[in-house]
C-alpha cells in the first residue's frame, strides 16, 4: 500500500506545478489550467488526509465532490470572462491588461 506521505508529496508537486504555470504563462487560458491544477492539488491533499486505516471518511469525500462541482462553475465563469476579455482587448496576454493597476 502506498503511504500517506506519497500522496502528500504528489499533492505538493501538483501545487508547485500549478504555481509555476501561473507565474510563467502569459496566456489567460493557460493560467486557468494552472488554477485548475492548484485546485486538484488541494483536493488530493484533502482526500489523502481523510483516509485512515478504517477507510475513507465519507464527509471529506462529500466535500471534495461538492468542491469539484463548484470548481467547474468557477472555471466556467473564468472562461466566460476570458472570452469577454478577448473581445475587449483583442489579446489574451495578461501583461497587456494593466487597466486594473492603480
Amino acid at each position: 500500500m502506498i503511504g500517506l506521505n506519497w500522496y502528500l508529496a504528489a499533492s505538493a508537486i501538483l501545487y508547485l506545478i500549478g504555481l509555476y504555470c501561473l507565474a510563467t504563462k502569459r496566456n489567460l487560458i493557460k493560467m486557468i489550467i494552472g488554477i485548475e491544477i492548484l485546485i486538484n492539488a488541494a483536493h488530493l491533499n484533502f482526500i489523502a488526509l481523510s483516509t485512515t486505516t478504517a477507510g475513507l471518511d465519507p464527509l471529506a469525500r462529500t466535500y471534495v465532490i461538492v468542491s469539484i462541482g463548484v470548481g467547474a462553475g468557477v472555471i466556467a465563469l473564468a472562461l466566460s470572462l476570458t472570452l469577454l476579455v478577448y473581445r475587449h482587448y483583442g489579446t489574451l496576454d495578461v501583461r497587456k491588461m494593466r487597466r486594473l493597476k492603480w
Partner: protein, 698 residues
C-alpha cells in the same frame, strides 16, 4: 360601561388613524366619513363611562358583571419588578377629560368635513387628527406616569404635524423672514415643538426622579398614580436627599410648556398657523389642557403624601409657584390679546390667559389645602372652568374658522360688516365671546365666579388660620384675576365689533366686486357651532351635577345642593368685583369699538402714554424677541463657534492628517504594484516557500 370602554375609547381612534391610509385607497368619501366615524365610536365608549362615575360602581353593561368601584383600575403588568405596566384608571378626572377630548374631538371632526373639504392632503390630516384624539385620551386615562408621558409626546407630535399642515402653500409669507407661507407654517410647527420640548424634558426628569426614589425606597418601584399616593417612602427619600422641591418644580415644567404658561407661552400664538379645526381642538380645547390635567392629577397625590410625612412646606411652595405663574400668565396674555390684529391670535392669547386662570385655581386649591387641609374648592373651580372654557373656546375657534373660510383672510381689520352675511355664525360667536368674558348667565360666568370665590375663600381661611402672607397673596392674586377679567371683556367686545359690526373693509368690498360673495357656513359647519353655543348657554346648569361627578370617591367633601350653589355664586362677596371689572373693561370697549364714539387710532395718536403701552403689548412684551435674540441667536452663535473651532479646527484637521499618512504610505508601496499577474504569482510562490521553510526549521 361598555365592555373594555377605558381601553377602546383611545384604542379606536388610534386604530382609525392607522386605517386611514388604507381607507384612502378605497375612496375619498370612505376615508373622510370613516375617520369621523372612528372618532365618534371612540367618544361613545368614553361617554359610556359617565354613568359609572355617578353610581360609583363600574359595571359591564352586557354581562351585568360588577367590575369594581371608583377609582377603578384595569392594567396589564409587563415587568412587575420594575413597576412597568400598561393600565387605565377610571376616576372622575380621567373620565371627565376623556369625554372633553373625545366629545369635542368628534364634534370638530364633523366640522372638519366641511372646513377641510377638498384639501389634497386630507389623508395626512385625518391620520394625525385621529391619532391626536387617541393620544390625548390615552394621556388622561393612563394610570401611570410612563404611559401618560407616551400620550403626552403623541399629542406633541400631532400638534407639530398639524400646525405645519399647510407647509406646501406658495403664497407670500406673513412675516418677512421666510419665503413662502408654507415655510412659515412649518417653522411655526417647529417652534411649538421645540418650546414644549423644554418643558417635557423637565417633566421627564421629574418622573424619573420620582421613579428612582420609589426604586430605592421601596416597597416596589412604580409609576402608578394610586400606588404613589399609597406609598410615602419615596417622598421621605426625596426629602432626605433635598430633591423634593426641585423635583416637583420640574414636574410643573411639563404643564408650563404644554399649557403655554409663562415663560414658555411664546409658542401658542404661532401655533395658529395650522388649520382652524386644529387650533380649536388641539390649541384651545384639549392638548393645552393636558398641563392643567397633570397638575390636577398630582395635586391630590402631593396633598395626601405630604400630610402623611408632615411636609406641608413642599405643598406650599408648589402651590404658590403654580398660582403665581398662572396669575401672571393670565394677566400677560390678556394684555397681548387686547391689541392683536389677527382674530385667531386674539383667541390664542385668550386661551393662554384662561389656562392661567385654571392654573391659578389649582394653585389656590393647593394653598387652601396647606392652610385648611382640603383642596376641594380650588380643585373644583379649576376643573369646572376647564370644562366651560373647552366648550366656549372651541365654539369661538370654530366660528372664527367659519369667518376665515368665508373671507379668506386672517386679519380682523380686513373683515367688518359680516353680521348681515353670516347671521348664524355671528350669533354663535357672540355667545362664545360673552361666555369667555364671563357675562351671566352663560357658562363662563359660573366657572369664573367659582375661581374668584375660591381665591376669596383662600384669603379668608388664611387670615383665620393666621397665615398673613398667604392672605395678602390671595388678595393680590384675586386682584390680578379681576383685572384680567376686565381685559377679557374688553378684547371680546373688540373682536366681535371689528369682525361683525364695523362697516365693511375695502378688502371685503373688493371681493364683492369680484363676485366672491361672503356666504354663511354650510350646515355641516354651523350645526356643531349651534350645539356648542347651546351648551355654553346652559352650561351653568350643569354645575351641581358636575360637583357630584367630580367628587365621587372623595372623602369628607360636602356637596352643595343646586340652589345653594346658585346663591353662593350670585351672592358671593366677589360678585361686586366682577361687576366692577365688567364696567372697567366693557365701557371703554363699548365707546372705542361698538359705538365708535372715539376712534381708537386717533386716541393712540393723541396719547403718547397709551401709544407706548400699545406697542409694548403689541410686541408681546418683547419676550418673544428676547428669546429669539438670546436663546435662538445665542444657540446659532454657539453652533457657529463649535463649527469653527471644534469641527474645522480639530475634527477636520485630524482627518486630513490621517488621510495624509495613509496616502504617503501607499505612495511608497506603489512601485510594487506592477499590474503584471506573473510577478504577483511569483510573490505568492515566494510566500509559500517562506511558510514551508518556517514550518520545517521554525
Amino acid at each position: 360601561m361598555l365592555p373594555l370602554a377605558p381601553w377602546l375609547c383611545w384604542g379606536i381612534p388610534v386604530i382609525g388613524a392607522i386605517l386611514t391610509p388604507l381607507l384612502a385607497k378605497i375612496g375619498h368619501k370612505v376615508r373622510d366619513y370613516g375617520a369621523v366615524l372612528f372618532s365618534i365610536a371612540g367618544f361613545i365608549f368614553g361617554l359610556s363611562m359617565v354613568p359609572d362615575i355617578f353610581t360609583g360602581q363600574v359595571v359591564n353593561w352586557f354581562t351585568g358583571e360588577r367590575l369594581g368601584s371608583i377609582p377603578y383600575e384595569s392594567k396589564v403588568v409587563w415587568i412587575y419588578e420594575l413597576g412597568i405596566e400598561m393600565g387605565v384608571l377610571v376616576d372622575p378626572l380621567s373620565v371627565f377629560m376623556a369625554n372633553i377630548a373625545g366629545g369635542l374631538g368628534a364634534l370638530i371632526m364633523v366640522y372638519a368635513l366641511g372646513y377641510m373639504h377638498g384639501d389634497p392632503d386630507l389623508t395626512r390630516y385625518w391620520f394625525f387628527k385621529n391619532f391626536f384624539i387617541g393620544g390625548m385620551v390615552l394621556l388622561v386615562i393612563a394610570n401611570n406616569f410612563l404611559q401618560m408621558f407616551i400620550g403626552w409626546e403623541i399629542v406633541g407630535l400631532c400638534s407639530y404635524a398639524l400646525i405645519g399642515f399647510w407647509h406646501k402653500k406658495k403664497e407670500p409669507s406673513p412675516v418677512p423672514d421666510y419665503k413662502t407661507e408654507g415655510e412659515y407654517n412649518a417653522m411655526c410647527g417647529m417652534k411649538a415643538f421645540i418650546t414644549t420640548r423644554v418643558g417635557d424634558v423637565a417633566l421627564l426628569i421629574a418622573i424619573l426622579t420620582i421613579y428612582a426614589a420609589t426604586l430605592r425606597a421601596g416597597p416596589r418601584p412604580t409609576f402608578n398614580f394610586l400606588e404613589l399616593r399609597e406609598q410615602v417612602e419615596w417622598a421621605r427619600l426625596l426629602v432626605a436627599s433635598g430633591l423634593l422641591v426641585p423635583t416637583i418644580i420640574l414636574l410643573f415644567g411639563g404643564p408650563v410648556g404644554k399649557s403655554a404658561q409663562f415663560p414658555l407661552h411664546v409658542w401658542l400664538p404661532e401655533a395658529m398657523a395650522g388649520p382652524t379645526t386644529v387650533s380649536a381642538l388641539i390649541h384651545a380645547a384639549t392638548m393645552v389642557k393636558a398641563g392643567v390635567y397633570l397638575v390636577a392629577r398630582v395635586l391630590p397625590i402631593f396633598v395626601e403624601v405630604f400630610k402623611v410625612i408632615d411636609l406641608t412646606n413642599a405643598l406650599y411652595t408648589f402651590s404658590l409657584v403654580v398660582a403665581c405663574i398662572g396669575a401672571f400668565t393670565a394677566f400677560l396674555a390678556a394684555t397681548m390679546g387686547m391689541v392683536a390684529r389677527e382674530v385667531k391670535k386674539v383667541l390664542a392669547y385668550s386661551t393662554i390667559s384662561q389656562i392661567g386662570y385654571m392654573m391659578l385655581a389649582r394653585g389656590r386649591g393647593g394653598l387652601i389645602g396647606y392652610v385648611a387641609g382640603e383642596i376641594a374648592e380650588g380643585y373644583y373651580a379649576g376643573t369646572f372652568h376647564l370644562m366651560s372654557h373647552a366648550v366656549f373656546k372651541a365654539l369661538l375657534f370654530l366660528s372664527a374658522g367659519a369667518v376665515l373660510h368665508a373671507t379668506e383672510t386672517k386679519d380682523m381689520f380686513e373683515m367688518g360688516g359680516l353680521r348681515q352675511y353670516m347671521p348664524i355664525t355671528y350669533k354663535c360667536m357672540f355667545i362664545g365671546a360673552l361666555s369667555l368674558a364671563g357675562i351671566p348667565p352663560l357658562s363662563g360666568f359660573w366657572s369664573k365666579e367659582t375661581i374668584f370665590d375660591a381665591a376669596w375663600v383662600l384669603a379668608e381661611e388664611a387670615y383665620q388660620h393666621g397665615y398673613a402672607f398667604i392672605g395678602v397673596t390671595g388678595y393680590i392674586l384675586l386682584f390680578i384675576a379681576v383685572i384680567t377679567a376686565a381685559m377679557t371683556l374688553f378684547y371680546s367686545i373688540r373682536m366681535i365689533a371689528i369682525i361683525f359690526i364695523w362697516p365693511e373693509s375695502e378688502y371685503i368690498k373688493e371681493r364683492e366686486q369680484k363676485g366672491e360673495h361672503v356666504h354663511e357656513a354650510p350646515p355641516v359647519m354651523w350645526v356643531p357651532l349651534a350645539v356648542l353655543a347651546a351648551v355654553s348657554v346652559i352650561g351653568g346648569l350643569f354645575a351641581p351635577a358636575f360637583q357630584v361627578f367630580m367628587f365621587k370617591g372623595w372623602e369628607g367633601i360636602e356637596i352643595h345642593a343646586p340652589a345653594e350653589i346658585f346663591i353662593k355664586t350670585v351672592a358671593s362677596p366677589t360678585i361686586f368685583m366682577t361687576l366692577g371689572a365688567f364696567a372697567l373693561g366693557g365701557i371703554p370697549a363699548y365707546y372705542f369699538y361698538w359705538s365708535r364714539k372715539i376712534d381708537p387710532g386717533e386716541f393712540l395718536e393723541k396719547h403718547g402714554f397709551f401709544r407706548t403701552i400699545h406697542s409694548f403689548f403689541y410686541n408681546r412684551w418683547y419676550i418673544n424677541d428676547f428669546y429669539t435674540k438670546v436663546i435662538v441667536g445665542g444657540f446659532i452663535k454657539f453652533s457657529n463657534a463649535v463649527y469653527k473651532f471644534f469641527e474645522q479646527g480639530i475634527v477636520d484637521r485630524f482627518n486630513y492628517a490621517l488621510a495624509w499618512v495613509v496616502r504617503s504610505f501607499s505612495q511608497a508601496f506603489r512601485k510594487t504594484h506592477t499590474g503584471d499577474l506573473n510577478y504577483n504569482m511569483i510573490a505568492v510562490m515566494l510566500g509559500v516557500i517562506a511558510i514551508l521553510l518556517l514550518l520545517l526549521f521554525g
